[in-house]
């Protein structure tokens, strides 16, 4: 493991300061998708970026934004490499990122130790959680833990659609991955 130089740290911070194209309240650093910046020579840099979901279309916009920011900082050549391993998980979202998601009206993912979906069961007419979840998904609007699942899939691959049974507001939940 080569130690990052001061300039590499600065470049990594700059790349991480780019807002997420889909959730502009979050930076890429808070989302946990920028992994490393490596300097080759004085003005050539390689950045490691990991996708949240394999098919996430935002990755291309992220790469372009990172390139632009680093070029503006004097880098002549910027290469953004997509890395898959280790696989990104929602646990990589920083505490600050979680707070911002909640303020934006999106319930943040629960922290988990095991990967995979939280087991759910389905009622006869609509999806409803019956399982004993140790951590309920709280409504980002009123804070109530009494919420129900409407759909496992929502406006983007990373979100599920839920509804608050207390204030009746529907909301997106950044689902655990």
């Amino acid at each position: 493991m080569v130690t990052a130089t001061a300039l590499e740290k600065e470049l990594l911070e700059l790349a991480g300061s780019v807002p997420d194209p889909e959730l502009p309240v979050l930076t890429l650093q808070e989302l946990g998708v920028v992994r490393a910046a490596r300097l080759h020579g004085s003005d050539t840099v390689e950045v490691d970026l990991t996708p949240t979901y394999t098919g996430c279309p935002a990755i291309e916009a992220m790469s372009v934004d990172i390139e632009r920011v680093l070029r503006a900082h004097g880098m002549r050549q910027v290469t953004v490499r997509t890395v898959l391993a280790p696989a990104w998980t929602t646990d990589d979202i920083s505490p600050e990122g979680r707070r911002k998601l909640r303020e934006f009206g999106i319930a943040p993912p629960r922290v988990h130790s095991a990967s995979g979906p939280v087991p759910l069961s389905l009622g006869p007419t609509r999806t409803h959680t019956h399982t004993t979840e140790t951590q309920p998904v709280r409504c980002p609007h009123c804070g109530s833990p009494d919420t129900e699942l409407l759909s496992r899939f929502s406006s983007t691959a990373c979100k599920a659609l839920r509804r608050c049974l207390a204030c009746r507001e529907p909301f997106d939940h950044f689902k655990e991955l």
Binding site: P51, Y53, T54, G55, C56, P57, T82, V83, L84, A85, P86, A87, W88, T89, S115, G116, P117, P119, L120, S121, L122, P124, T127, L150, S151, R152, F153, S154, S155, T156, A157, L161, K175, L177
Partner: protein, 243 residues
């Protein structure tokens, strides 16, 4: 993509896995504008997007993703016949999803545990596939154990696609997997879901002369040609076009 370059990737295996993902992604995309409810429209499109992401990475390991997707003839595709089957009614789509996502989840989990060229992608994708499988399972239970009509449609869909499931466990050159064990786990898992959905396990043969299954060798069923014609039409009519 990773430290492993294309030179060490077994092309046959990359095409088999990549074509499964690409073809099923296209089939699920056909639901756009036709799904029974808005939530399902979004769910099926999201699953299709995950699969398309897998396909892009896998096909890029084997060559140029666009050339492979848009310029190959039917006989050069290595996908399972199961994934090319038409959407049918919603129950058929769910049965196809149940059979395939159970298989994909087990296979990817095994690949992810190894250190072969597909391990990084498999480790990433297996978590997404768990959601696909969960979606299919919940719908199988809901339709199977639902009304008389939904039960009958779900039963008939599971029955109709059964003959395409044996092919999944034919060894693929370049994939290190214990196929017999995968098949046993798949049977166990699918049987458990169908039991709970009150659907009898289909009885027909899954392999042999009277069952389907030569997609991995490039032999496909009739609907696949029509699907490819639609999928490749734009690229072939306007080579190099972009927007």
């Amino acid at each position: 993509m990773t430290a492993t370059g294309p030179a060490t990737v077994p092309v046959t295996a990359a095409l088999a896995l990549g074509d499964d993902a690409l073809v099923l992604s296209h089939r699920l995309g056909e639901w756009a504008g036709h799904a029974p409810v808005l939530e399902e429209e979004v769910a099926l499109a999201n699953i299709a997007l995950d699969l398309l992401g897998q396909a892009r990475i896998l096909l890029s390991l084997a060559g140029d993703e666009d050339e492979l997707a848009y310029l190959r003839e039917e006989r050069a595709f290595r996908n399972l016949q199961l994934v090319e089957q038409p959407n049918g009614d919603f129950a058929h789509t769910i049965a196809r999803q149940l059979y395939f996502s159970t298989y994909q989840q087990l296979l990817y989990a095994e690949l992810a545990a190894g250190d072969g060229p597909f391990a990084p992608l498999a480790a990433k994708a297996v978590k997404e596939v768990l959601y696909h499988r969960d979606h299919a399972e919940q719908w199988t239970l809901r339709l199977g154990d639902g009304t008389e009509t939904s039960h009958e449609r779900m039963r008939s869909a599971c029955e109709a696609l059964w003959k395409f499931t044996g092919e999944m466990f034919q060894p693929v050159e370049g994939l290190e997997a214990d196929w017999a064990r995968l098949e046993a786990h798949w049977q166990e898992s699918v049987t458990d879901v169908l039991d709970r959905a009150t659907i009898p396990l289909p009885e027909g043969p899954r392999t042999g002369a009277w069952s389907a299954g030569a997609g991995r060798q490039g032999l496909h069923t009739e609907p696949f040609g029509r699907m490819l014609a639609e999928m490749q039409h734009l690229h072939r009519s306007h080579p190099g076009a972009s927007w």
